[in-house]
Symmetry: C2
Subunit: 334 residues, 2 copies
């Protein structure tokens, strides 16, 4: 088993009000680079920002890191369009940072990244891949793709209150800019992801297509964004079994409707609840009230911890220690 | 402790007769990419070549991989100027593939790569770095750097018979093209490595300078190329303790004079003998007769195995299994 995180960025993330992945929209460029460093090293190493939301919620990378330490998980990072340097090692598949979906052709690198990621997914020697993502603004681009494909168009959010109206407006503008009607890209996943999506979705879809083609089992580690990657590969013609492992926070998000989306796509859904409400710590409380919810493979990592027999309390303890370290780095004067 | 491998390429490696790192000079471009895949995955994954020398000697990457498996070593790869894709994850520090040292300015990316590698070396959270390299033709560029710095100008070889006369001729042409006399770059390591060196040496030197500055212990894992990286940081003004861990094959290479070079540079030398002559296998026999000798951190990996109490027979067994797998991939019809 190998735990793959695909990391990238778009200009879409700069749109006000759609993402909590970073202290401010302009800083979200660095969030995926910092997330990979946290999973690899347990701390931000070279990235100039510490991904803690304005509400004090640390990036879900700390949860994935906590599980990786406790369950000895082997991680692999794929550059799905990073726009800022990272000290974490990444595989290059030619994905470039995405533009603003309200432009006509925001992800021109999508088809090439899909192809090279497909080669990689087929070449990796593992019998199972667990694949997560980190890309700010990713639920908005996922909503764009689901709408263009004609699938159930609901997504979750890293904010406690999902700004669905804002996202729908962005997606309407995106479809108009690309001269696409809802459902018009059905059966044309590369059109959907290139015109109204993001480079991470293209890369994840490529990995899944290549891996399943090679007989490798795939678990998508995340919520509605990973379900959207599943939609892309279903529209590409992949009918292999697919699993989606997410958190209770996404599964409990009534604005998202993940269970129905997964059922539509014939994807088996696993939900893991880390019971962060049971811990007495501001970082855990932020998750418990619905901040962040998912990301950087958090749901898949929690499922792996359960599979490996790691006590959820041990994971929570480690999350708290990592969150404290990040919080100290984010507020060095306190 | 983290085991770092810096991988890169130059046009210098294309000069006939100087390297055994690949079946043919034109294929050496892919050797470092394949080496990283072997250390990461235990096999060539995406690289289109299998690094086995014409004489049947598998890349020393199999030895490093064997130790990594047996001693649970955490590896990190840095792109020191790769020219071909790899499915292994790498950190980018801006190093570009090097040109032919017989040109005037073959490594223009050296100063920038040195600086960014220095930042990385200072930022990594480890208390110890063990640093190796993979770059075909690397002893020739090392000879160029040692000559330009005015240090003892002897290097080892991946060939059983060291083509020193050929290398000296190349270095003479290189110095002439850069209008440098032997010793003229003393105290100017960035000039030496840019004009007559290679991007891997620049990157390794940067990592060492940054790490030692941050109080991180450094073991250079290799032979005369890594000693040359030590020379670069000594000329940069670093007086921190440095260790060099190499194989008995390099230490026994009378054409190389590694012990005196290490003494000149105040570098503590550790020599590990894997006793490959005790194993009955063509791959081990190739090493025993002086093929390859070092590379991809082999000497450092063997020292780590010893430190971790891993039986050298267990390493040999695993080397044989990996070599058989590579040989089967290299000669699929047999």
């Amino acid at each position: 088993m190998r735990f793959v995180v695909v990391a990238g960025t778009t200009r879409t993330a700069r749109i006000d009000g759609i993402s909590a992945a970073g202290a401010a929209p302009a800083l979200t460029t660095h969030t995926p680079s910092a997330d990979l460093e946290i999973v690899e090293y347990g701390d931000v190493v070279a990235a100039p920002v510490v991904p803690v939301s304005p509400a004090g919620c640390p990036t879900p990378a700390v949860v994935t890191r906590a599980v990786a330490e406790r369950a000895d998980v082997e991680a692999l990072f794929v550059d799905g369009g990073l726009a800022a340097p990272t000290a974490a090692p990444t595989v290059d598949v030619g994905a470039e940072p995405g533009g603003d979906v309200r432009d006509a052709d925001p992800v021109p690198s999508a088809p090439a990244a899909f192809e090279r990621a497909r080669d990689l997914g087929g070449a990796l020697p593992d019998d199972e891949l667990v694949i997560g993502e980190t890309i700010p603004g990713g639920t908005t681009t996922a909503l764009g793709v689901l709408t263009a494909l004609g699938e159930r168009a609901t997504v979750s959010s890293s904010l406690a209150e999902n700004p669905m109206a804002r996202k729908r407006t962005v997606v309407e503008e995106a479809l108009a800019a690309s001269d696409l009607a809802p459902g018009e890209a059905a059966g044309e996943p590369l059109t959907a992801v290139r015109r109204v999506g993001d480079p991470v979705l293209a890369t994840v879809a490529g990995l899944v297509a290549g891996a399943t083609d090679a007989g490798t089992a795939v678990t998508l580690a995340g919520g509605t964004q990973l379900a959207t990657a599943a939609a892309l590969v279903r529209h590409w013609g992949v009918d292999a079994p697919l699993s989606l492992a997410t958190t209770a926070y996404v599964a409990g998000d009534e604005s998202a409707d993940l269970a129905d989306l997964a059922a539509d796509l014939d994807v088996e859904l696993t939900v893991t609840d880390p019971h962060f409400e049971a811990g007495d710590h501001p970082a855990l409380a932020a998750y418990a009230r619905g901040e962040a919810k998912e990301g950087v493979g958090m749901g898949g990592a929690l499922a792996l911890a359960e599979r490996a027999g790691v006590d959820v309390r041990a994971v929570r303890e480690r999350v708290v220690a990592l969150a404290d370290r990040l919080q100290a780095a984010a507020s060095p004067d306190q």
